[in-house]
Subunit: 303 residues, 2 copies
């Protein structure tokens, strides 16, 4: 096989307190990437779907192409990738769109070369692409590759732990139609932080991870609390506080900003259309997209 | 019953990266506290054992008495405590000595009043005592009460999660005969910390917790790495780096400072006298105490 199409799921980055550390893959929404291997020049053959107009056609600037090329180089395969992308995720929506395209590019190249999924190699190649647009972090790449909840223990070297999730919780993603650049959303965050605050953030992150492995709903409610990015970034997202209030009032276990926003996520006890409606209503007259889905148990996969 | 004797185990505070957040109870070493209830005045009847000379006899300054009185007040029991303490733990050794005496005082008072263990009430009362000598933190109190590995999610309000430990790892505690005051050891720590560092610390703490629940030895090795307190406090402990090197070379899964020191702890795959010997030899001519024991599965208990 010298051609493969894969599906790379969207993901919540910065899950609550787990800034740069916890990511959660979401089922039913993602990017579809096809790679055909060629002995000739790399190129982007086609881009369709969400934000297609904004996706670079220059393979040196397209994350799927960059990741595919990085994987081929690391695997010492002297071929180039012809990439086609069908985007289900917005480019800067906070749902891991660039990570999904990156992972999709790397994994489609490897599948086209007949290889089984090697998570470490795919993450390493995808990171090289992601770093060009969103910074050198793995909290979207990791869940997109391994599925479920992913703990990023280290970026250099890449060290990711797939965390078993005990419960069938649902996820609501609400994306208002405003654009936030990942780099800009990072620039407003404080460089230095006081001891009491990071210790609280650390305690919440460890507790949240444990809540996922045990299915402890009460512990999610207590620990899904981001003291670092959410207070600063909330102001970038229209009606954020009202939407969060509505989600929690409707019974969500937790609600915060996905990645650097503007997507707002809520974790719910099951697929919860009522909670999603409450969140959408709280967004009032701001146009937005809504997605409800389970946690993606599997990460990137061949179609 | 108006009299009870309890055993409160020692504990490792600040387990690796889990500063103020992770504590681990150690079997076979601890404080024994007896409380007799009286309608007359509170008093400290007797103090024996380790550092007995340094333990205050004034009940207003003795942590076991303070904790017993706090528990009695919270339980609305109009009695006073006559306290006797047999200390197995040094006063400022970094093995949770003050926490054990505090927990012992509160729990002995409750047992003397015929009550079953109420972890929340015991931790709250013990915290009041611990705060007078070592600051307002729970990372020794929590494991001393609930046993095993304890996650302190919050101090105000008290929110502690008992983390199931999958493996029968051993613990080595090596305590050189130097004295470090908890408050002084805290004063040398930076108040502000940069983002990359606390994110790495947070990732390591979450990973270490997960390693305990899964018994993942390799993950302990990668994540038991304290970037915050250890680099600063290492200089307060004679031969720390040599002892740590010796522990890791002897196969320990991890080695760091217990609490604010001077005790050095190592986690080993089982009870490992060879590792303990290697650590003691690396301490060279500095006098020290050595303890080898399993993780204490149970916390404070009636004798």
């Amino acid at each position: 096989m010298s051609r493969a199409t894969v599906f790379a799921p969207g993901s919540i980055g910065n899950v609550g307190p787990g800034f740069d550390v916890l990511g959660l893959a979401v089922e039913g929404i993602g990017d579809r990437v096809t790679v055909e291997l060629t002995a000739r020049e790399a190129r982007v053959a086609d881009v369709t779907g969400r934000d297609a107009d904004l996706v670079p056609r220059d393979p040196a600037k397209n994350v799927a192409s960059i990741a595919a090329a990085a994987w081929l180089r690391d695997a010492k395969i002297d071929m180039r990738a012809i990439v086609s992308i069908d985007k289900g995720l917005a480019l800067a929506g906070g749902m891991g769109g660039s990570a999904a395209s990156s992972v999709g590019g790397a994994f489609a190249a490897s599948a086209a070369a007949g290889r089984q999924l090697d998570p470490q190699a795919i993450m390493t190649a995808a990171l090289e692409a992601e770093a060009t647009v969103a910074g050198r972090h793995l909290d979207n790449i990791a869940p997109c590759v391994v599925g479920g909840l992913a703990l990023v223990r280290s970026v250099d070297p890449v060290d990711v732990v797939a965390i078993p999730v005990a419960a069938n919780w649902g996820i609501v993603l609400l994306t208002p139609h405003v654009r936030i650049q990942t780099k800009a959303a990072r620039a407003i965050l404080p460089e230095l932080w006081d001891r009491a605050s990071w210790i609280q953030q650390m305690a919440n992150t460890a507790a949240l991870l444990h809540a996922f492995t045990t299915g402890d709903e009460s512990l999610v409610r207590r620990s899904l609390d981001d003291l670092y990015a959410e207070p600063v970034r909330a102001g970038l997202i229209p009606n954020f506080r009202e939407v969060k209030r509505a989600a929690l009032d409707a019974g969500a276990l937790g609600c915060s900003i996905s990645g650097s926003g503007p997507t707002i996520f809520a974790i719910t006890r099951d697929l919860d259309a009522r909670c999603a409606d409450a969140m959408k209503r709280a967004m009032r007259d701001v146009a937005c997209d809504l997605h409800i889905g389970p946690i993606a148990r599997e990460g990137v996969r061949v179609l």
